[in-house]
């Protein structure tokens, strides 16, 4: 691929390509949907292009490592998902003051409105406001690429991080992108890091300096070619940012409205107030089309509030509710908002169609995400369930973030699920409540990548405070949910990386008991879990599991087939393998009244064999 080529690219790939065209030398990241493909794209050519690209232990470490590269003069990229920025925020709200040296540092944060692949729908733009850092919101795949060199230019000039915000619909949209030139940079050697890379003893002085930088950046943004803030005599203006530009254009066409001008703001913080006010001049109505919270809407409202003795247009959006404040935007939502503002009618489908659609809806069944056939997590949750049944006291199970989060949908195997590392953190609290009469035993469940990402402080706390809990680490040797990136403990490491052993780290915390289990040996895992429930103290069980999606395709064929012996299956009266174990590869044969293995789905793990009380599931 060379300069001038027109290539189909996702928004994420375009961001990565833009960073390569900006001449990055360093990229550190933690995988998280919808941001993962940025780093993956860079990794594809990182060796050839002499770029250091790594999956870091978590987003904070990734940001710290990228900043260090920038300090040493190397342009660095740090992509992450929305919630990742929460993890990195502590460092971010310090390094904004300390500065990033002359290398250049761009943070790409991918928000997930509607939470397609996230446990919340946070608007990460507020971090740019909190940290006083410039923010760019590209509106198309092409602009996502084009804006990256600009972002680096600003970062280098002002020696602070620049935040580029994408959303799922941009990150995961493919469109034609015209490529630019990749600079032929000789391997730059790193230089000494600048002096004074700390904020004490006078953080307030550093704060003052940062605010002065922000004033200058605002002036730069007044002239930015990435905004489209033309004057207009149209009565209604839409101020769009990010992908909502496209929705606004289409909504306007759909309603066949002419008295509307779409303005586009890409440099959303610090807001270039003069050009925005000029572009909105003489409008009677302004609609803010933005994903997330009314961020730009509030910033513009402040601009108007400061303007004295002038008429203010009616401001519409998420504050007055013409667009709902939760969920993801689309053409229909913008069209509805326009119809409410202008009074023109909008019906996406005729009413009779609506009725028929409503009736058809009754036929639909939900499809909650579930474990793949043969997934080790299902086996572990089955063992937990059996151990809980055998145990005489109630048990609470705290969950974490990864494929095993789907325990929520698996017979409510998890009672809680919040942030990375929260399984052991919340368990360390619950495990200290016995003197207040909390008499439930506590199990915390996390995976290998999450163990390293955020469980270690919780584990240390649990040991230090002598919390009574059982910590189950399901080690399937990969970061499965985001597409099988190696975790620090993975056997197969990329390039020069070195495997870090979970068991050794866990033992170093000096737990009262530590055991190793194998997920596919369900009876033994059940015994282990039950035994540890009867004990007091800090107990750790590391369960080795296999991700069947990451497993080699031919490993399945090496195992003997699993089948159901029709004569032994007692049929309708049991159905336990289907109603409770719930593997998608077991189906019901209505005519013959027994269950059946779907061979094209079965991975021949054999986990279901012990589940059948009648020994009807066999191998051979």
């Amino acid at each position: 691929m060379i300069e001038g080529d027109q290539v189909l690219m996702s928004g994420n790939e375009a961001i990565a390509r833009g960073a390569i065209e900006a001449g990055i030398r360093f990229c550190a990241s933690y995988p998280g949907t919808p941001s993962t493909e940025i780093t993956e794209y860079i990794m594809k050519t990182s060796d050839r292009r002499d770029i250091h690209a790594e999956w870091s232990t978590n987003e904070k470490v990734a940001l710290e490592a990228s900043t260090a590269a920038s300090w040493a003069g190397l342009p660095a990229l740090c992509p992450m998902k929305s919630l990742g920025l929460n993890v990195a925020a502590d460092f971010l709200l310090n390094v904004n003051l300390s500065g990033t040296g002359d290398g250049g540092l761009v943070i790409v944060v991918c928000d997930d409105p509607r939470g397609h692949s996230s446990s919340n729908e946070q608007d990460s733009r507020f971090y740019s406001k909190a940290a006083h850092l410039p923010l760019l919101e590209p509106s198309s795949c092409q602009q996502a690429k084009d804006i990256m060199p600009y972002a680096f230019e600003i970062s280098k000039r002002y020696e602070i991080p620049v935040i580029v915000r994408s959303t799922t619909r941009l990150s995961h949209t493919r469109a034609i992108v015209e490529l630019g030139e990749v600079p032929d940079i000789e391997i730059e050697s790193a230089h000494d890091i600048p002096s004074n890379l700390y904020n004490v003893p006078r953080p307030d002085f550093k704060h003052k300096q940062l605010l002065a930088k922000l004033d200058d950046i605002k002036e730069d943004f007044e002239k930015s070619r990435f905004n489209k803030l033309d004057s207009s005599d149209k009565r209604v203006r839409i101020l769009a940012s990010g992908i909502t530009n496209r929705y606004s254009e289409e909504a306007m066409r759909k309603l066949d409205l002419e008295d509307i001008e779409i303005l586009s703001i890409t440099t959303t913080f610090p807001l270039p107030g003069k050009s925005v006010l000029k572009a909105l001049d003489s409008a009677t109505h302004v609609l803010f089309a933005e994903e997330g919270q009314p961020f730009t809407e509030e910033n513009v409202a402040v601009l108007f509030a400061k303007r004295k003795n002038r008429t203010v247009p009616e401001l519409h959006g998420k504050i007055d509710g013409v667009i709902e404040r939760y969920g993801e935007l689309n053409v229909d939502k913008v069209a509805h908002a326009l119809s409410r503002i202008t009074g023109c009618e909008f019906r996406p489908v005729p009413p009779e169609f609506e009725e028929r659609a409503q009736k058809s809806r009754e036929l639909l069944l939900d499809r909650p995400p579930t474990f793949c056939p043969g997934c080790g997590h299902r086996a572990v949750y089955w063992a937990i369930k059996k151990a809980k049944q055998r145990f005489d006291k109630p048990v609470v199970v705290t969950g974490d973030i990864g494929c095993y989060s789907m325990g929520i949908f698996y017979d409510s195997s998890l009672d809680t699920m919040q942030a990375m590392g929260s399984s052991i953190g919340t368990a360390s609290g619950l495990g200290q409540l016995s003197r207040f009469g909390f008499d439930q035993k506590v199990i915390a469940v996390a995976g290998d990548s999450t163990f390293f990402h955020a469980c270690l402080p919780g584990l240390v706390n649990a040991r230090n405070k002598n919390a009574d809990l059982t910590f189950i680490v399901i080690d399937n040797n990969t970061t499965a949910m985001t597409g099988f990136q190696p975790s620090p403990s993975s056997h197969i490491q990329r390039g020069e990386t070195f495997s870090v052993d979970i068991e050794n780290i866990a033992r170093a915390a000096l737990p009262d008991y530590i055991d190793i289990g194998i997920a596919s040996d369900i009876p033994a895992t059940t015994d282990l879990i039950h035994e540890n429930l009867t004990r007091d103290g800090l107990k750790i069980i590391i369960v080795k599991a296999v991700c069947r999606l990451a497993e080699r395709e031919d490993s399945k064929a090496e195992r003997p087939k699993v089948y159901i012996d029709a004569d032994s299956c007692i049929g309708e009266n049991c159905k336990l393998c289907m109603t409770q174990f719930g593997c998608l590869a077991i189906e019901w044969n209505e005519e013959e009244d027994h269950s059946e293995i779907e061979n094209h789905l079965c991975v021949r793990c054999g986990d279901c064999i012990v589940v059948c009380p009648h020994d009807a599931i066999r191998r051979g």
């Binding site: 189909l8 489908v349 939900d366 499809r367 789907m406 719930g582 094209h600």
Partner: protein, 201 residues
Amino acid sequence: MKQHQNILIAGVGGQGNLVCGKTLAQAAVEEGYKPVVGQIFGASRRGGTVQTHVRISNSNLGPLIPRGDVHIILGLEPMETLRAAIEYAGPETIALMSETPVQTVDSLAGRKLYPRLDELRGSLSALARRVYSVDPTETLEDLGTYRVQNSYMLGALCGIQTARLSKESIKTGLIEIVGRSQPNTEAFEEGLKAGRCAVSE
């Protein structure tokens, strides 16, 4: 092209929904269009509903097909075809449905009943202008793999002759995306035959 064409690919995680989207986009590029593909993956690949929006035009459209504006629903799974129709179908919609159901956790467990095919077809007919359905089971069993159902359905899409894109470009696109593997090519050809014989309801 005077008007753009919106194709919605409806299926379940793991069915090759994204491959279909990429193939159609590649085919559109071959013909000089500027396609835009909106896709959602992540948690949904684990057995959840997956919809890919393919928009073929000469301009840079947004990634989501507006409600009522879908021209073709390419349904890789029967119930998901209906789900897509309920959410996006309109007066111009033509639905092409695969007859191979993917059960849900609840239907497997017997807690809920997976709808009958004739019920689904009936409901679809009330929402779409034309409905075609094809059954890839025999072909897939002969080929010994269910992983090429997407190639079969792309073939069927060419067979019913509603896509603006030519059979040749879709085939080229498919080879570009999945390679020239024998099961894929064969599934495509079988799908093409089935599509040509399919009669709309």
